[in-house]
């Protein structure tokens, strides 16, 4: 279902339609989080690790908002406080110490991680800071036991080339990773701490991408750049990206944790359309004369009206609901049915907020009572008409008003009712700046939390600033890896086809390739083929018969290819030997067979098959040719062998 739905949503969309997105005012930026390949964590000496077994211990914490350095509360922080979550952390003896538990202050920052971050910042053409200040970025969702992430800017104002222009890099920060969420139900959220405090770099671009296609491409480019640095972790969960989208008239919306580059295209496309739809909703509201000043809404307790089972089943409200509240949105008739995303209406925006803020996560969590002419569809949830009319009369709502019912534990139901009013009011004013999560179809999104602002930043009083000595920086600059686009250019000049050059430019053996080409005189094309295509094919063949890949040291590869270049090993001979090498055999490449050696081999084969009865002579020649080539281990030219065989038979 999800696949078919996704196909329907994505096919026949030109994600690079400059005119369409230009008219929308589509702008998109990226926040890429990439773990660094260090052995230890960023602020303690725990080994970086990934766990999926039973935790060794658990602890319980709560989070409270605090003042920012500038003396204000952060909006997200206050909102998350409303949710009153119990936060459970799962601990592992091997990967977590009292630092991650927030029971020990930080140790000095991991210098290796800082070096790696400096290197990547330089690759991104950033201006480095002279003194790294460790800052606390507050997260009240519980994803970090301290309630904040320790983070530090290493570079600002960078850029990378794309489509003949510059994509600006706003900043690169070195920070500790957060926990993994295991479960979020009602007022309890469970986090696993294994990933916590793993060093990562966060790269933030300016909103310089102008179509969904461009956003995905730049994401890929940045990913390749980091892999080219050789300083980053690989594998599932080691890189995550948040994507920002805005259109003309809207503010930045963040789509959190987009799993794959390819998902960026539909997600940003539909997000842009959602924003457009919300702007249209605002206009519809304004046309009805609903403005921030005239907006009218209130809520009432209607629990006593729910007495018989029939009412509960008609409305879909469970009989266990402690409190049932109704919100009256005056003159909102029909507007909650305003479509915001494919198959989704504005009511879902409200439901999302109620789910998160009031912890009412059993869906559906609201019931919309809207007496628009088309009325209730058959089977749709609602209230018996007499009861609805009775309630309307009691709370003074007429038929132009939309009622929204919310239920749950007493306090949560009230929080939910208040939140419905807050979200409805926002629709009149602006598109609220949110962090949104993607739905399973990876096309549409749902509310996750309010987008935090700069007010959640606070200097880390536990860590002194770290000055970056010019020597340290220039040393890193001198040994820095080539950027993928620089490599690409160089490889194209060497005559490699574009796809091979692309793969090689982010390949782990890219440096080896460059050394060998410069030093051994081996053919760049042949070497690139061996390192990229052959290696991939041989490894895959092993995997097909359940054999693990053989790890061959880079210096073994280096001497192998140097040797092959010196001996002028022909292409087939190289493949023959290389396959053996990657299957764990001790092998050396050999040069081509001499004329004499070839003749001897041909004679031997001819003799062996002298009595063999071939139906036609040309079959015989082909057969012998194949046999000789096979036995030559790739060290003979087919044309040459054919010629010799012809002469000898």
């Amino acid at each position: 279902m999800s696949d078919a739905w996704r196909k329907k949503l994505t096919e026949s969309i030109d994600f690079d339609d400059q005119e369409f997105y230009g008219k929308l005012g589509f702008k998109s930026g990226l926040e890429i989080h990439q773990q660094l390949d260090t052995k230890k964590k960023l602020f303690c000496h725990c080994p970086v690790g990934y766990r999926n077994d039973e935790p060794d211990a658990i602890i319980l914490r709560h989070m409270r908002p605090t003042l920012s350095e500038m003396g204000t509360y952060d909006g997200t922080a206050l909102m998350e406080f409303k949710t009153r979550k119990q936060v459970i952390y799962q601990l592992y003896r091997e990967n977590v110490c009292t630092y991650e538990m927030d029971d020990t202050p930080p140790f000095p920052i991991n210098q290796k991680a800082l070096d790696y971050a400096i290197e990547i910042a330089l690759m991104l053409n950033c201006q480095l800071v002279d003194e790294v200040h460790i800052t606390r970025k507050q997260y009240l969702d519980g994803s970090i036991p301290t309630g904040f992430q320790r983070t530090a800017i290493v570079g600002v104002n960078g850029w990378i080339p794309y489509r003949g222009r510059k994509i600006r890099i706003q900043q690169l920060a070195l920070e500790e990773d957060a926990c993994r969420e295991v479960q979020d139900r009602g007022h309890e959220i469970v986090f696993r701490t294994d990933r916590l405090s793993t060093p990562l770099v966060e790269i933030v671009t300016k909103p310089d991408m102008l179509t969904p296609y461009e956003t995905a491409e730049v994401d890929g480019l940045l990913g390749r750049l980091m892999r080219a640095s050789g300083r980053v972790r690989r594998g599932i969960g080691t890189a995550r990206q948040d994507v920002n989208v805005s259109i003309t008239g809207s503010d930045r919306i963040e789509i959190k944790g987009v799993p794959r580059t390819g998902d960026i295209r539909p997600l940003t496309h539909y997000e842009a359309l959602r924003q457009k739809s919300l702007l249209e909703l605002r206009e519809r509201l304004n046309n009805r004369g609903i403005t921030p000043e005239t907006f009218k809404a209130d809520y009432h307790d209607i629990t006593p009206h729910f007495t018989d089972a029939e009412v509960f089943s008609r409305s879909g409200i469970p009989e266990s609901a402690e409190r049932i509240m109704v919100v009256n949105l005056a003159d909102w008739q029909g507007l909650l049915k305003h479509q915001t995303q494919p198959g989704i209406t504005f009511a879902a925006e409200i439901a999302g907020r109620v789910r998160v803020i009031a912890c009412l996560d059993r869906m559906p969590n609201i019931l919309v009572l809207d007496s628009q002419p088309e009325g209730m569809l058959h089977g749709e949830l609602g209230l018996p008409i007499e009861l609805e009319e009775h309630i309307r009369a009691e709370i003074g709502a007429d038929e132009d008003d939309t009622l929204v019912v919310v239920w749950g534990p007493a306090e949560d139901a009230e929080t939910g009712a208040k939140e419905i009013i807050i979200r409805a009011k926002e629709a009149i004013e602006k598109i609220p700046q949110e962090t949104r999560q993607h739905m399973p179809d990876k096309c549409r999104t749902d509310f996750e939390r309010i987008l935090p602002g700069p007010d959640r930043m606070y200097p880390d009083t536990d860590s002194p600033p770290v000055a970056l000595a010019p020597d340290r920086v220039s040393e890193i600059r001198n040994s820095m890896a080539l950027r993928p686009w620089e490599r690409m250019e160089r490889y194209l000049e060497l005559g490699l086809p574009r796809c091979l050059a692309g793969d090689l430019s982010i390949h782990r053996h890219a440096c080896l390739f460059e050394r060998l080409v410069a030093g051994s005189g081996i053919s760049p094309l042949l070497l690139a083929e061996a390192l990229v295509s052959w290696q991939k094919a041989i490894t895959r063949a092993r995997l097909e018969v359940a054999l693990p890949p053989v790890a061959v040291d880079e210096d073994v590869l280096e001497s192998f290819f140097t040797d092959a270049a010196a001996k002028k090993t022909p292409r087939r001979g190289l493949l023959y030997a290389f396959e053996k090498l990657l299957n764990g055999e001790d092998v050396e490449p050999l040069g081509p067979l001499s004329e004499g050696q070839l003749k001897t081999l041909c004679l031997k084969v001819i003799e062996e098959y002298e009595d063999y009865n071939f139906k036609q002579d040309r079959f015989k020649l082909d057969f012998l040719l194949g046999e000789v080539l096979e036995r030559s281990e790739g060290r003979a030219e087919p044309a040459k062998v054919r010629k010799i065989l012809k002469e000898l038979t």
Binding site: L60, M63, A77, T151, V156, P454, A467
Partner: protein, 461 residues
């Protein structure tokens, strides 16, 4: 100094900034040899070098820029931070008990200091309420800031002021007292108040926090709620320390002021009762005694305040190669009391005998406690002990070294007669010496053992 336009900047950085006409809190564009930076110039920590300036970027991040590379500084706007929790008037409910919160400082009431870049005690208790509105569900709160000092700067003078303030509040009808205090020496103060404020009709609850209140994960709010609840509704009319039981936000322990000690430099559950069990557990809405022998709340307003202290007292933490001159210097400097934290059952080496004899002869009261912290001094078991007692050293049984130090200072302010001092020292005021140690008074579980790990797996830590 507070209005210094270049707060915290010195030397080269100060010179460059003032030449450029820059000032802190100014929103600026700084042109450097690396490129342009935009942000707000922040004050600098005084201990930091004079090579860099601190800039807050629009994103809220701070960065440091080398002054050497700065070409120009252009001011665009000016915005001074007002770091202040919105102060709210505490709602009064005639049905709720009146609690007085006395502030002394410490991380339960702290904020960022630009001078040092560290946290300093600066919130008034009133502001604290702005941050923890739940307190209004518990009691009516009256707050008074006695002083704002780090707990290591608490001393006899502060003990006396605090004790008198408590007496005054109790006589004025407070249903309970809460004292906000830094955690480092909270157990010293708890002991001092136990001796200085006796026969209180209401709970006197000391509270602090191990994670400062500028952190979302702070234990301050939970501790404060627990403490206020204990003071308002608890039945234990003693000097208590109210701090985390486990490291989880789960429940607090109420420790007797004379048996409690800070045992971890940073853990939330750092306070432990030694050689005994705590008095009670508590939460923001319950107090559950776990032993029967506590002093119950009374309805009168009578309290005995005996706030005196002689600070010519020292603690000597014995180590194997200690030389006589350590003791001699105390004698020569006019000290009146010495508390030794001895090894094992209460021992020191032979070379110290001579100066110790001299000390006793000079009328100095010398007390013996154990550096094992748990357990009793027992000086009869070995000859060493008997020799020491012969010198006139008083074995303080299972009194904690810090408590013995505080008590000796308090006793010496009453009398310097060594026999009377010994008698007072060995007459417990409230649990500083106990007659018996229960089987579970000493529990330090060893991590890594299967049965312990199994236990930890199943419970909130």
């Amino acid at each position: 100094m507070n209005d210094d336009a270049l707060k915290g900047y010195k030397g080269k950085a100060r010179k460059v900034l003032s030449e450029m006409g820059a000032r802190v809190w100014a929103e600026v564009v700084i042109d450097t040899d690396k490129g342009k930076y935009e942000g707000i110039i922040l004050p600098r920590a005084e201990q930091a070098d004079d090579e860099h300036i601190v800039l807050k970027l629009e994103t809220g991040y701070n960065i440091g820029l080398a002054v050497e590379g700065i070409k120009t500084v252009k001011e665009k706007a000016y915005k001074k931070a007002h770091y202040k929790i919105p102060e709210q008037e505490f709602p009064f409910d005639p049905r709720k008990p009146d609690v007085t919160l006395l502030g002394t400082g410490g991380t339960i009431a702290s904020r960022l200091d630009y001078r040092t870049g560290a946290v300093i005690p600066a919130f008034t208790p009133g502001e604290l309420y702005g941050a923890v509105p739940e307190l209004a569900d518990i009691c009516n709160l009256k707050t008074e800031k006695l002083f704002g000092v780090f707990s290591e700067n608490m001393g006899p003078e502060e003990y006396i002021t605090t004790a008198k303030a408590i007496g005054r509040e109790i006589e004025a009808g407070a249903a309970g007292i809460v004292i906000g205090h830094g955690t480092d020496t909270m157990h010293h103060t708890a002991a001092a108040l136990t001796f200085m404020v006796q026969d209180s009709p209401v709970p006197i609850v000391m509270v602090g926090s191990q994670r400062s209140s500028d952190r979302p994960s702070s234990d301050a709010a939970f501790n404060l709620r627990c403490a206020c609840n204990t003071a308002a509704h608890g039945n234990v009319a003693e000097v208590l320390v109210c701090m985390f039981g486990p490291t989880s936000d789960s429940y607090n322990l109420l420790h007797r002021g004379t048996r409690v000690r800070k045992m971890h430099s940073s853990y939330r559950s750092t306070f432990r009762t030694l050689s005994d069990i705590p008095v009670a557990t508590c939460t923001p809405d319950s107090v559950n005694p776990i032993r029967p022998d506590y002093k119950s709340r009374r309805s009168d307003n009578k309290v005995k305040v005996d706030a005196v202290f002689d600070d010519r007292v020292a603690i000597v933490y014995y180590y194997p190669a200690m030389k006589p001159d350590i003791i001699e210097s105390l004698i020569n400097n006019g000290y009146k009391g010495i508390v030794i934290a001895g090894t094992g059952l209460g021992h020191v080496n032979k070379p110290l005998y001579k100066p110790l004899r001299r000390a006793c002869k000079a009328g100095i009261s010398v007390m013996m406690t154990v550096q094992t912290l748990w357990g009793y001094v027992q000086m009869y078991v070995y000859d060493t002990g008997r020799d020491l007692m012969e010198l006139g050293i008083v074995p303080c049984l299972n009194m904690l070294p810090e408590v013995a130090y505080i008590k000796l200072g308090w006793v010496l302010a009453h009398t310097t007669d060594t026999e009377e001092v010994a008698r007072m020292m060995l007459t417990p005021v409230n649990g500083e010496i106990t007659e018996r140690e229960p089987h579970d008074g000493y529990l330090v579980f060893q991590g890594g053992l299967p049965e312990i790990e199994d236990f930890l797996k199943r419970r909130l830590r």
